[in-house]
Symmetry: D2
């Protein structure tokens, strides 16, 4: 009897975080709670909210889902009309909690609270430099580097100090900062991670995704631009362009997998982009088949697009169990494809005797895909044609997505034919870069697709560890 990590589809990518902020609303903490709730898909391991009435920070953070971390009374104690909040995919335990955001600090100019979504690739170098000057670090979060830079800045105003600090950072990040009288939102030079600005009555709101606006009834105003710093104060909002040449390279994988389908990214609807990717895929890699079925949920829109473009029937051939818990007890005599079966069950009556097109968003390690193909075949499929709504995932992400090391990625080690064989599929095809960007409606140059292409907009220096150890501190030297 073994304990299985509960998301049996866990060789998918994990986005690190989602952020949400409110400025000057009498229900700031409640709205932030809802804004995080709507973005729970961006991080299920920890949640935190910091509010302020201008005099004190009120902070509450914890491990778990938003609805579990915050009780009614915990929210009530988050007084103040300004709030920022954060959800995170993270490790557990003491050091897990220590890395929960938002962080609150005190420095020469008062209190400051911060949270971010993404990854600062030069954080180790900056950290080393800061340590040489006598800085100490309690967490392994990039945010702590940033706040040290702010604290050591000689800038006269908060926006000078923040700008000076942010301009030293390289990587992909969207950042929310809360100080006494201001809420600040910053997006990295390339705009790798999303950040949108909205309005609820007279109050400004900032969010990773627009689906959070839908829940609270806020109106989308615009995306914060790459390299832009938005400073919200009472009666004013100011836009500061930190870089002369911002070089936008928005993460294409947000379209493919991360973002909720009902969100709009750069004003484009995610669901429709996915549907159109499926259509492109059908044109590029048609299959002589009887039925198209998706791997739910992110495979559903491209599967529908594929079916419609190919003129094939579409059915929900894999049924999702909605009551997935945190851990699961596996029987000793291992059940075939157990992990996948906990989440998805094939509907034999639909599949039996059919030549099936199985549409998924990506193949990471390949373990799940192999089990899915086998499961569908066991359910009676005569043929299984795998179609993937993104190009092959060959490289790790260093800008805020938790991906396995490159040597763990199936597409990094194998060609498509070899993969097809390893998966046990009858055919395998990925959408092309051209098809992908045609479906999205953007030039490829406007996006980062490093996980597919290896073309990293921000150089990564050795050691290429995609993420600092979050669990423990290391005694380096003495």
């Amino acid at each position: 009897m073994n304990k299985t990590q509960l998301d049996p589809l866990d060789d998918h990518f994990h986005d690190e975080c989602g952020v949400f902020g409110v400025f000057d609303h009498s229900e700031a903490a409640n709205l932030t709670y809802l804004g995080l709730y709507a973005q729970q898909h961006r991080g299920q391991e920890s949640a935190g909210i910091v509010s302020t009435d201008g005099h004190q920070f009120h902070s509450h953070r914890g491990m778990g889902l938003v609805a579990d971390v915050f009780s009614k009374s915990a929210l009530k104690r988050r007084k103040g009309k300004r709030c920022i909040g954060h959800v995170r995919y993270s490790t557990s335990g003491d050091s897990g909690l220590r890395n929960c955001q938002p962080f609150t600090y005190e420095y020469a100019h008062g209190g400051i609270a911060m949270c971010h979504n993404g990854n600062i690739v030069n954080a180790p170098e900056l950290r080393h430099e800061l340590e040489q000057m006598g800085s100490i670090f309690q967490s392994t979060s990039d945010t702590e580097v940033l706040i040290h830079l702010v604290a050591r800045s000689q800038g006269k105003t908060m926006r000078e100090r923040l700008a000076e600090a942010v301009m030293r950072l390289r990587g992909g990040f969207s950042l929310l900062v809360l100080v006494e009288k201001r809420l600040v939102g910053v997006r990295d030079r390339h705009g790798l991670r999303p950040l949108v600005l909205g309005k609820l009555g007279d109050s400004w709101v900032l969010s990773s995704e627009t689906c959070a606006f839908d829940l609270i009834g806020a109106t989308y105003v615009r995306d914060v631009e790459p390299g832009e710093m938005v400073v919200i104060e009472k009666d004013s909002i100011e836009s500061i362009k930190l870089f002369e040449h911002p070089e936008p390279r928005f993460c294409v994988f947000e379209y493919v997998y991360f973002a909720r389908p009902d969100s709009n990214l750069e004003g484009k609807n995610v669901y429709q982009a996915r549907y159109r990717i499926g259509m492109e895929l059908a044109r590029e890699a048609p299959a002589d088949a009887d039925l198209v079925i998706p791997v739910p949920d992110s495979g559903t829109p491209p599967a529908m697009g594929f079916a419609d473009a190919a003129g094939l029937p579409f059915q929900m051939g894999l049924i999702r169990n909605h009551y997935i818990g945190r851990t699961f007890i596996e029987p000793k005599q291992s059940i075939r494809n157990f992990g996948v079966k906990l989440k998805l069950n094939p509907n034999r009556e639909l599949i039996e005797g059919k030549r099936v097109v199985l549409v998924d968003d990506s193949i990471v390690r390949g373990t799940t895909s192999r089990k899915l193909v086998e499961m569908v075949r066991k359910a009676g499929a005569k043929e299984v044609h795998m179609r993937i709504s993104s190009p092959p995932t060959k490289h790790s992400c260093y800008y805020g997505i938790d991906t396995p090391d490159e040597d763990q990625l199936m597409a990094n080690k194998m060609g498509i034919d070899e993969m097809c064989k390893a998966l046990g599929a009858d055919s395998l095809a990925f959408v092309s870069f051209e098809g992908l960007y045609r479906a999205i409606g953007n030039p490829r140059s406007a996006h980062c697709d490093a996980c597919f292409s290896g073309d990293y907009p921000v150089p990564i220096e050795a050691p290429r560890s995609p993420q600092l150890s979050l669990l423990h501190f290391t005694n380096k030297r003495n």
Copy 2:
């Protein structure tokens, strides 16, 4: 700030229970755990497993989801190769726990464990009769009545005692009984609730639905028949027909809403039945529209059937949030359609400017449907045509489904035109009885559709309270 019950679609029906049993398997408790896990949709409030090695019962029951109630060590302590388990939709607190099944008792012939899915309509009369003879009751569960009947039976063998007791019961129920050397499954005379028999290697398994067999890799053998008692012993399985004229009237609502779409009922696939209901609906009540969208998840197959039959595009226009927690904090200034929005968000980009067909499985109180129509309209739909994949729900169920009182049912108080107006829809149509049964492929006479027709196969006597109070005991007299 109010606390909202978390399932915002909670004016749907709730099935009371799911059951699962294993006879002679070295991993009986683990398999029962998985069997319940796969049937979690039949009851999310409590779970229990009783195992036996022939000498002792090992019982563990608790409030919550299967994966939360049972830890690895709790399962390990459920020793023994025979097991029964139960999931339940139930009330909370002390008396909630008191009503958690399976129940274990001791009586003159040793220990006995029992659980059931359904409702015994003459339980109050039997209870009164038993009390007059000196019986005492600790729970409000029907199961306690049954066990008293067994204990007072003069039957010489366990099967005589059980048969005698069961034949006194009227209502809809599927029952599992575990005694020292036997596992027994019983289905009421009309077979109102489902019960299927399967095999895993040399071991027999019993389950409410076949989806549980899929997860553990068991093979479906057959449905237990209406009025049949199956007695499983070492090296033998015996079928006892309790009634000369069983009068099968299987619950049609299991097809429409309750059962998991990947389950087969009476050998028929639920998903496909739902899809065909949608096709019938499209033929009976076409709509001049641009798009068909389902209310997920039970509305999805009929919506697809409707779209395919009508030749209309189908899209997932309502996106479901998968991270619904137990309670939720609502902001003071109430957000429009808040309850529904927590679970479903319309995708404006798909809906805007379209004439939409919205397909749902049923309308109960109408509150949710009204909110859904409004929400879809707010998202830009030009017209909203509501189509329901069951006839109007006009009556309460007394055979194991937790429905509101009749005067709470929208269709009980209003005609279809009036309902359409109250819901704010442009048109409203329900599938006809003919269409429904054609889609399922059974004669109407083989089913109970009392919730739609008022034609109750088992007479209900006053007081027509659909459910005994589970919360507290009442001091009746003294």
Copy 3:
């Protein structure tokens, strides 16, 4: 690293229960909570309160200390002006909870709630008899037997039914019963277990010990008499003598160990009785020593009495750690006398070089006593003279005290000299029966001292199991 049961002095006796009841007070639940809190020493494993407003029972029970089981809101929901409550030393888990008192039942004459302190020795026979008549049992508690007897009684009034049932019981028990309009207190024919009646304003209260009255400010009225049934109704209290010849035999061990020292039993102060036992012991078994130290807390008053009578100095030579938790992690390389050390630490500065008299209340298995002697000697004592404030414990109790089987009792297997040697003491003496009863001020005939003498006032039939298995049900036959 092993897990150690946390009470390292756990080879002492455990009293099973404490009870408390209130009739007609607007804060009945709060007062019952306090009454149980003051009697927490009588049972730390589970707690329960049932209240009624005359229409419904409101029950809350749980595993743990009173202050942990009841939250403010849980108490608030215990509406009604009449209450009974119970604390219990019990096993854990599902069946533990199933045996938590008070029990609530429904029978032909309405609802009834019950709890008791003690043991009914003929419960197995009665249970067998009831099962033959068709009764079923869900718990292993004696209370369930009693309620079956009540339910099957042909008595016309509640008091007739209850009297008839109680008169069939043999053993030692104090019982509280709550029905719609009445609170009833019953003490067994021998008055083996305590029960006192008090008044708080116009409201009557019943309790195992008077210390509960002190906390809530109630006035002690009198002890309920052996074989008496007290029926409290609105505006009346009635005393019913169930037996012509009650034969009082109150448990002497309540004086020696169980009761709180600030309680009065039969109007006599427990602390002073213990102090006088110590004085008797000093006269009967003086020691040529330099210092008297107690094993706190129950050894403290007799040690003071011993010291005063012997003219020896008294000091707290063993310091008690007040922060004992539920479980404890033991290091691998076992620390000498680890279990005892967790609770008590000798003060070497006081003990070193001294001839010490160590006073404890009893020796059960001898394990702890041996460790204590060794520990005191290690702390530098030249001589250790053990003095025990009760006669040797040679027999098990069957009237409500959880004692080991006789073959586990050190004094059952050894003479005093042998015990002294086995404990490693320089001398060992127990108070005599004469000294014990002189100190208490009662004739020996008025008491049960079966655990010392083997003189059982109520005959015990085979099998002499002191307690039914509480953990699991057994399949006896089929």
Copy 4:
């Protein structure tokens, strides 16, 4: 119904912390756990342990008692042969956890873990200075100031950096530091807080009190000296005297109240010192009385000393309830002296008609003392003579003891006669400084008794806030 803070005697002082450290022992984490457990009286609100194997720190901290914070598995994960641990009296919530010690940091020279007992009075100034240089602060703990000083030191070796940092601190503190290869213990220049060195086999141990050594079987070696830094490495222990003139001023209140009676401070037994204080008190302020009773537990030894010196009987007239929980529900119609009664109950049988001497260790706000006097009088005492085993508490402590502000201290506002009247006592007396120090056996000049005398060995600058706000950060400026 109000919630009462559960320690009804909470107007006593609270010591902030206890520390424990182990160097090179295979069971370092288990021993640290036990060392903290034995010192639980020094802090019940949070506990933490950090271990290291030389490569990583393993940290676990939490709110609650030691036995609750650490599970078996949590301890198992604290790998490594070197450990430090901490118990703390602290506030609750998110910021409470943020202030839990030990702290772990990373700086230019690697990882460092620290914890301390005490208070650094110039921490605010140092913090301000550090902030001006760009330091940021995440907690409000003094430890964070210290680690910043270490990180900014130009010292070449760890001991140089640590020495340089410690010498900048003013106040009372005992400090444990864990780095890769070393365990360091430091005591402030005046030795205000205790720290002792012991040995367990070949391993060194450091502890606030010796009672921790008793539990694990370690041998006391010596007290760390005021102003001494002990550096423990593999195969060596080094003593560094940080100050030429250390000026020892050990806290006298550790003798009176804080330390466990079985601990030795500076080689002197605490229990015996307290007993002798009672004797001095009897000589200085005899009472014409019949009985001496203590306020347990810290009043017990002086009450015994008083009784023995005065030739008066001594009895435990107040019985302590050992099952105090965390919170408590108070009835609406307030019970007289409710708070005190929850913890202590007077034994009327002992007290009634007697002239009683009531011995306690100190009077802080006076609230509890007043209730105690009233309670004892209500229990029938003819006269109540209060005797206090310390001089009047007139001043706040700034060296690590959480005392109320001066204007909250009864003795700061009233003379002894006035206090006596306010308490409702027949007489009131405190031990004199001469008597106190005679009993301890030390010259007064060797101690700090600022809380009694106002003679602060370390000057306190305005603002004389005894403690920084632990709850929230304040936005000071921007």
